[in-house]
Each structure stands twice: as C-alpha cells, then as structure tokens.
C-alpha cells in the first residue's frame, strides 16, 4: 500500500494521473471501515481530506459546497435556503461522523443511502469533477448511475457540488431504526422552487440510485398552479394522500437488513404527505 499525501489539489490530481483508480481518502467514514475490516487493501491511496481547495462553501448567488466540507460545517450554516441541508446534516451519524464525513465522500461512495444525495438530487445539483485533463460538470441525475456506481473517471476527483438557490420551501425527512447513528431505511427531500414553478422530490434508500418522483412532482405542481405559486398551499387530505401514493409508486425498493420493500414504500408515502404539508405553507 502506497500512501500519497499531496499538499494541493494539483498535487492530488498529478498523483491520481500517475495512478488512475487510486483510492481517495476523504473523511474516512467509508474507506477506513473497508480497510479496518480487511475488505480492501488499496495499492495506492491518496489522502485528499486536508486539501484547502476542497473546503470552500459559497452561498452568494449560486451555491457551491466543496467536496471536503463536513456535515458539521453544513449544520453550522443558517437555515432558509439551506433548511433541507441542515435537516439532512443533523441526521448524519453522530458528532464524530459529522466532523469527519464530507459531501464529497457521499458523492464518491455513491451509496443509495448516502444522506446528502437526495438533497443534491432534489436541488438539481451539478457535480464538479476535475482531473489533469480539465473540469467536468455533470448534473447529479447523470452522475450517480447505480449503487456505488457513478460517472467519475479513474483520474478524476469530485471537487464540489453546485446548485441554484431554490428558496426556502424545502425539507428533508429520514426514517431509521433508532434516533442516532442510523442509516436511512428511507429518506426524502422535497423542494418547492416557487420562483421557477417547480416541485422536485428525491428519494434515498429506495432504489439502486437516488430516484426522482416525476409524477408526484407534476401532481404537486398542478396543485400549486391552482392555489397560486405565491400563496401558501393548503393541502387537502385527498391531495396529500394522492401525493403520497405517487411518491411511493416511484420507489423501487428492496428487502434488506434495514427494512422491507413494503415498509419502505409505505413510509415514503407518509413522509411525502408530511413533507408537502410542511413545505406547502412556506412562502418566501
């Protein structure tokens, strides 16, 4: 095992160019477990965690979150158009894990249970990748291609996620099997971007990748079309139920150690209703 500890992003990219496919060590919450358990013995390992270039967090206009930004830092941000981000960050692991884990790590691992990913999906985020060959910007929907699979090339490093501020009508919900240190049984992020008349719902832990509930999104958009995009939405019982059904129908869950497909589908419906009730009333 060869360890590289570059001092700059350029150094890291050079090391990666020399050893394409080398493992990148960010917060360590995934990779170190693999090493500790003897499941992985990387030939080359590049430590990217301390790189200053990955730690920018910019919320002026377009949002840019560097890959090395930890969940603790996200939690320290104000709410408003970061409400869902904060809600998500609060559910990540524990203080120790939030101090270590990064958005880039979630993107790198690309687990369907990665907490940040439904938020990035609902925010229509762009994933910024860099290599010695240059920079690539990929919509999140094209970035994550399957469970632990993504579009990152072997010589690329995820440097940031970027998105357009969608306004404050947003929420993140997660169901787990205990109150801390829990991987999502199912999670959901809902954004109502009133300025663009757009509703977006993304589902975590409910399929091979992060799923968008397109029909539910269109259904909610029609609801808000009727009530007005500048007005709070008073969700009727029937509409909330329909929205829940459409979200549940978009899931492609499996049975696993954390929960059954049936329960996942059911609880997504419940979360969707609650999310719509919560977010519908938020008007900037």
């Amino acid at each position: 095992m060869e360890i590289e500890r570059p001092r700059s992003l350029d150094g890291a990219l050079a090391a990666l160019a020399a050893h394409p496919g080398a493992d990148l060590l960010a917060g360590g919450t995934d990779l170190m477990v693999e090493i500790n358990f003897g499941r992985k013995r990387p030939e080359h390992l590049i430590v990217v965690q301390p790189l200053a270039e990955l730690r920018d967090l910019d919320r002026n206009g377009a949002v840019r979150v560097g890959a090395g930004v930890t969940y603790t830092r996200l939690l320290a941000e104000g709410g408003g158009s970061f409400a869902a981000v904060r809600e998500m960050a609060r559910t990540v692991g524990s203080p120790q894990i939030r101090n270590a884990g990064t958005v880039g790590g979630n993107l790198g691992t690309s687990s369907p249970a990665g907490d940040a990913l439904p938020v990035l999906a609902a925010f229509d985020a762009t994933v910024v990748l860099r290599s010695r060959r240059g920079e690539r910007r990929i919509p999140f929907a094209d970035y994550m291609t399957g469970p632990k699979r993504n579009a990152r090339a072997p010589d690329e490093i995820v440097v940031a996620a970027e998105w357009r501020d969608p306004g404050p009508a947003q929420t993140f919900l997660k169901v787990g099997t205990r109150n801390a240190m829990v991987i999502a049984v199912a999670s959901l992020c809902l954004v109502v971007e009133r300025a663009r008349k757009s509703v977006r719902v993304a589902l975590g832990s409910c399929g091979p990748t992060i799923l968008r509930a397109g029909e539910a999104e269109r259904f909610a958009e029609e609801l808000i079309d009727e009530s007005g995009w500048d007005e709070p939405l008073d969700v009727s019982e029937a509409a909330a139920a329909r929205f829940g059904e459409l979200v549940a129908a978009a899931a492609r869950p499996i049975d696993d150690v954390r929960g059954s497909a049936r329960y996942r589908r059911h609880v997504l419906g419940v979360m969707a209703r609650r999310a719509l009730e919560r977010v519908g009333s938020v008007v900037a």
Partner: protein, 747 residues
C-alpha cells in the same frame, strides 16, 4: 480456627435450581437489623476503581501488549454446514510476518471436521501483528463439501429431528382448568435472537513460564476458565493462573472459557511466545453466544372475575448448535401467579447458527414477554385493569414449592410503580397525542427471578500492622460494582474507613469465588467477606483484650476504639495495630447454605409509557418506571445504575435489536454495530428507579439478594402492553418494529 464441614445447599442459577455440596467453616451470623447504624452498607459509595476507569489507566485483556507477543486470527467457515476437505495454508505462510497456521491436521484438539454454522472455526493464523494475521487469514484456502442446513427457527421446529424436549412441568390439571374457564386467551409469541455486544470483545492472552500458564481473559468466571482450560490442555489446576483485572461487560456470554482461550494456551506453548487471541466485532456477533430466539404458545384461562384457572406455556428456543441446555423460558409461567393448574413444556431446537449462551436472565426475559403480554390480552377480554388482574392472581406462597418466600413485596412494587408512572391517567384505548396520528398508552409487567446466591464462596482478610486491610477473594468485577460492594461490607464489619480496605481480586491464585452471573455475586461472596471480617474483628478484640488486660467478651469495637464495658477502658485501634508490628491478623469466611424452608426470589414491576405514530408505526418510549425488591441494597447508587442499564438493554430487545439471518446462505446480515441497533443516548427515555425498602432477613447475613438480571426481565412486555393500549396494535413479535406495528394495526 473453626472446623470445616460439608453442607447441602440449593442454589438458583439462571432460572434453574442446583443442589450441591459445599464446604463451610464456623457458624453464620444474622443479617444486620433494619435499625442497625451502618456506615458503609446501604449507602451510596463511589466506585473504588472509578479513577482508573475514567482515566484510561484501567487495563483490560484487550489492552495487553506483552513483549514478543504474537496475534492469532481465526479462519472461519462461510458455510452454515459443511465438511472441511482440505486446508491449504501455503499462500498464508508465504506472507511476511506469519509465524504459523494450524488446522485440524496439525491441531486436532482445536478443530472439528464438520462445521455447523457460519463462523465456526476452521484454522488459526498466527502473525507478528493483528493486520498480518488478518491478511493471512484471507489467504488460507479451504475446500469444503457443503451439507444441508436450516437456520430459520420455524423451519427447524417443523423438522422433528432438530427438536428435543428438555423440560416439562405441571401442577394440578390444566385440561380441567381450561374447562372451568369463562375466557381463554390462546396466543403465539415470537422473540428474536439478541446479541450481547459487550463493548470489550471476548478474548485471551496466554503466556507460558515453563510448565505454568498465565492466561489473561475477559471473563465473568475465572475459576471456570481455569477448570476448562486446564482440562483442555491436560494441566493441573495450579499450573493455570487466570487473571481478569478489568473487563468490559459480559452479560452472560463470558461465563466459561472460550475457543480463543484454548487457541491462545495451546499455540503459546507450541510457539514459545505469548499469544493474543481477541475477537473482532463480527466474531462477537457470530460466535460468542446470544439470547435464543423463541416461538412460544401461551394459553391462559380465567373466570369472568379474572381468577386464573389454567395456564399453559410451550416454548421452543433456538439454541443454534448448542445441544446441552436450554434457557428457562417457561420459568415465569411456572412460578409467578397463583394458578392451580399449570402445564409447561420447553423444547430445544437446533439450527445451523452460532451457539446460544446465557444472556442476562436467560429464558425469563423471553418467557416474561409472552406471559405478561398474554395477561394483558386477558385483561382486555375481561375489561379489567391489567394491574387489577395481576393483583387478583397474586401468589402469597411460592406456587411451585408451596413454601413461603423469604421476602415478597411485589404488591408494593405495583403500588409504588403505579404512583410513579401515573397509572391513574391510563385509559382503556389509550390517549391522544399532539397530532391526530400520535397515540399514547401505558403498560405494566412483572418480574420474578432467583438471585439468592449460595456457597461455595470464600474470602480471607489480612489486617496489616497499620490498620489497613486486604480482602482476598476469587472475584472478577464485570462492571456491576461488586468490588465496591465487597469493600463496603468489609469496611462495615471492620469499622474501617473505605479507603483503608484494599481488594486483591481478579486472579485464581485465591480462594474460590463465584461466577459474576445469575445475579448472585454479591449475595454469594458478600456474606463470606462479612464473616471473614467478623473473624478478623474477633481476633483483634482478643489482642486488644490482652493489651487492656480484660476478657475479650467484655469489649467491643466502636469508632476505631476497643472499649471495655460501659464507659470503661478505651484503647485506640491504631495503638493496637502499632503494637502488633509485623503480625498479620488473618480472617477467613465462607458462604453458608441458604435456608431450606423458604424460597429466595426477587420481584419487581415495570411500567412503560409510549407514543405510537400510527402512520409510520414508529414507537417512542417516553418513560419507564422500574420498582424492584431485593431486600437490602448495599450501594444504592450502583444499584440504580444497574437497573437503568438493564432497562436499556431491554429497551433495545423490545424495539430495535435482533439478529437478522439470510435463510438461503445462513449468513448473519447484521454482524456489526452499524446494523445491529443497540440503543443510543437519544433512544433512552426517562428511567425512574426505586427499590422497596425492606430486608430479606432470611436470605443471608447481608439481608439482600442479587440485582443483576431482574431489571431486564419485564420491560419488553410493559412496552408491548403500552403499545397495545395506545393504539390497539398487539405486537406479538419482538422487536416491535414500525412494520410490525402497522401490520398489527391492520389486523
């Protein structure tokens, strides 16, 4: 020196009664009376070894790094049932730093030809470091012949060859009792396999010096480890010294020696270097024991006014590959209520999964869930308050033996618990929460357990010339605080400040001491320590009498002085000690047998309040009230902490814990702390603990019995009953997951 004699004794251990012969010396003394002015016993004292534990200075077995020490990793079967055809260690041996690989051919005493569960040992790799050994373990190539297997308990029950009838009990005529019943509840309950997950893993470090083996082991029973290892390696008892200074939790899973102990002992001898063999978290979850999953059928019959007429309890416990014994799942049904007609049967069911072991109140936890859930189902049908139903069938005498109890204050546990829980707020059908989808409810459940302890247990106390004392006993402190309790007992009887009493424990070159299990450590050893202190005091008085030139019978010890008669001569003990110089006063004490004419049992009641989200099925436990009766409490602070801890393990058992098996591969799917969910600080509700203040005078010379297990026994049923009260969802399967709540709501 008092002469020794052999006595017969009955001890209840882990729900079963054992009759044994024991050697005792002298005569016992009565328990301290209720109004005795005690300075240490009955008072909250801080842990004598607290500073070591909080500073990181306490050394656990897993912390031991001896010079020249090698590390052993076990290569384990990925198959639930297979024959080992061939082990090829060539690639493993080629790895730098690997010292040895042994398998069945080279160490037949350590391995079997057939493996019966995923995780069964097949070979051992010894390396210079843990990582080298672990990497080499992956390189050992093993050829298996797969054999048929069953890992699912229900599937195994259907296969008669896997089921053994282990215990049955009856009194009266159950059939007649059910004919006499106006109402019968007949329900089937299932519980999951609970994994101990002690934070310190199981393990041992072995070092040989000539013919003598020193074995450091994380154990609840040093003497059983010594016996087991000595037998396995064909050594004499004095050739094996077991040391357990600090240990990080056992909960029943560290009662005997482990395969790791034998590996360390055997390979340390072969290789001439110390060997460390410590399990990792995955191994903890695969091979170091568990609480049996159960399937139980409970039938309860009662008259319209709630008097039980018959009770039938049949339990099937999945013991994995352990075919020797089964936990007493039907114990609570046999002995808790006054019911004339009882029939119970207990079956052991073999599956191709890791062997079960004792786990804090084995059997009683599982059985109480079923029995106390059924009692509430009965109360519902009778439209009776659940607490009233329990009081109606209260057993004043032990229903099994017909004897009186040495102490039974369960009625007070019920009343005080009801008061603390606000039971009068409970409404049939539950109450409303903050939102329409939130429902609140309350439930109660009862605990019965043994824990009286008994012989053999011995202690000696050496009194030094400066008035300090050393208590020497074969005791290991698993974290419950026994060490502190023992020091308090000795200090009390010796009239010494606590800091003048030092304990020399944690190794087997000492008088025999009991296992730290069965809620019996303090109740077994404490009385022996007290007698040893009495013996020291008697000798000290004789010396003082000589110096004071009075008869020993005329003086007594008080406030650090020997005082003759009323207002007579006074001699400071310090002066006595200084005159003694290098003389050592040695006191001896042994545990005397339990009384024959009464039954020693502890009782308690738990009350749970929950909130159920009827849309997601999530259960939030808001509060647990735990009231227990064990007689005298030696250390209230540590006792409360014991109860809180027991309740918390029970909470996990009730709502989040359970081993998940893949039926097709036989693999454990959650053999780690990420997916096996033990409660975190954010899951634990307010836990209110109280003890009924009374003495168990007849139990032993302390006036109290054990508390280790009682607090884990009734909680799960109290929670299940509260959930049913809240929203009508009767969940008969543990853990009570959201999916199961929803399923029960749909019924």
């Amino acid at each position: 020196m008092p002469s020794a004699r052999v006595v017969k004794n009955r001890t209840e251990f882990e729900g079963k009664i054992y009759e044994e012969l024991a050697l005792v010396q002298g005569a016992d003394i009565p328990a301290w009376s209720a109004d005795a002015e005690l300075r240490h016993v009955g008072r909250s004292r801080l842990r004598v070894d607290g500073p070591q534990r909080v500073s990181g200075r306490a050394r656990y077995t897993t912390d031991l790094m001896l010079p020249g020490m090698l590390h052993a990793r076990v290569v384990r079967s990925p198959h639930p049932h297979a024959r080992v055809i061939r082990v090829d260690a060539k690639r493993a041996l080629a790895l730098a730093g690997v010292r040895s690989v042994v398998d069945r051919t080279s160490a037949p005493e350590l391995f079997d030809e057939e493996v019966h569960y995923v995780g069964a040992p097949v070979a051992v790799v010894v390396g210079e470091t843990e990582e080298i050994a672990a990497d080499a373990a992956h390189l050992v190539e093993i050829e298996y012949e797969s054999l048929p297997f069953v890992v699912d308990l229900e599937e195994a029950i259907a296969d008669r060859t896997r089921v053994q009838r282990k215990e049955s009990y009856s009194r009266g005529d159950a059939r007649r009792g059910f004919r006499e019943a106006d109402i019968v509840v007949d329900a089937r309950y299932t519980t999951s396999t609970q994994l101990h997950n002690c934070l310190e893993p199981h393990g041992a470090v072995a070092q040989w010096d000539g013919e003598r083996l020193t074995l450091w082991e994380s154990t609840q029973a040093m003497f059983d480890v010594r016996k087991g290892v000595a037998k396995a390696i064909r050594a004499r008892l004095d050739d094996v010294r077991v040391i357990c200074d600090y240990m990080g939790g056992g909960f029943g899973s560290k009662l005997g020696h482990g395969h790791y102990s034998e590996i360390a002992a055997v390979l340390a001898k072969r290789l001439g270097r110390p060997i460390r063999c410590v399990m990792d978290r995955r191994e903890e979850n695969l091979v170091t024991g568990n609480r049996s999953a159960t399937v139980q059928r409970v039938r309860v019959g009662a008259t319209k006014d709630g008097k039980l007429t018959a009770l039938e309890h049949v339990a099937w416990s999945g013991t994995g590959t352990e075919d020797g014994w089964v936990a007493s799942t039907t114990g609570p049904s046999n002995g808790l209520y006054e019911v004339a007609n009882v029939r119970s049967e207990q079956f052991l069911v073999l599956t191709n999964t890791g062997p079960f072991s004792a786990f804090r109140a084995p059997g009683y936890v599982e059985g109480t869930f079923a029995l106390e859930s059924a009692m509430d189902e009965l109360a519902d049908k009778l439209a009776l308050d659940p607490l009233a139903l329990r009081r109606k069938n209260y057993a004043k005498l032990d229903p099994q033996s017909g004897k009186h109890y040495s102490l039974k204050r369960l009625d007070q546990c019920y009343s005080r618990g009801a008061e603390l829980a606000g039971w009068s707020r409970r409404k049939a059908g539950g109450t409303a929460g903050r939102h329409a989808y939130l429902r609140r409810g309350m439930g109660v459940s009862t605990q019965v357990w043994g824990g009286g302890g008994g012989p053999p247990a011995y202690a000696t106390i050496h009194l030094n010339a400066d008035g300090t004392a050393i208590v020497r006993a074969g005791l290991q402190d698993i974290g419950s605080g026994t060490k502190t309790a023992i020091a308090q007992i000795a200090a009390e009887e010796l009239s010494l400040p606590l800091e003048r009493v030092r304990l020399s424990i944690g190794e087997t070159d000492a008088p025999y001491g009991p296992a730290s299990g069965g809620s019996m450590t303090t109740a077994s050893l404490g009385p022996a320590v007290r007698l040893a202190a009495v013996d020291v005091r008697r000798q000290l008085l004789e010396v003082a009498a000589g110096l004071m030139e009075v008869r020993a019978s005329e003086i007594h010890l008080t406030d650090g002085h020997a005082v003759a008669g009323r207002g007579g001569k006074k001699l400071a003990l310090d002066e006595v000690f200084s005159k003694l110089q290098n003389y050592t006063v040695i006191g001896r004490g042994s545990r005397h047998p339990n009384p024959e004419d009464v039954r020693l049992r502890s009782f308690g009641a738990h009350f749970a309040e929950v909130e159920v989200d009827i849309r997601t099925g999530a259960v939030r436990v808001l509060k647990i009230v735990a009231v227990h009766q064990i007689g005298r409490i030696v250390n209230p602070l540590n006792a409360k902490s014991q109860v809180e801890g027991g309740v918390t393990q029970a909470l996990g058992y009730a709502v989040s814990e359970g081993r998940v098996l893949d039926r097709l591969s036989g693999h454990v799917m959650n053999a780690n702390l990420e997916d096996y969910k033990i409660p975190t600080v954010k899951d634990v509700p307010d836990i209110v603990v109280e003890f009924v203040p009374d003495l168990d005078r007849r139990a032993n010379n302390l006036g109290g019995i054990g508390l280790g297990e009682p607090p884990i026994i009734p909680t799960a049923a109290a929670i299940a009953n509260a959930v049913a009260n809240a929203c009508g969802a009767r969940v008969r399967t543990l853990p009570i997951t959201p999916a199961r709540v929803l399923e029960a709501l749909r019924r």
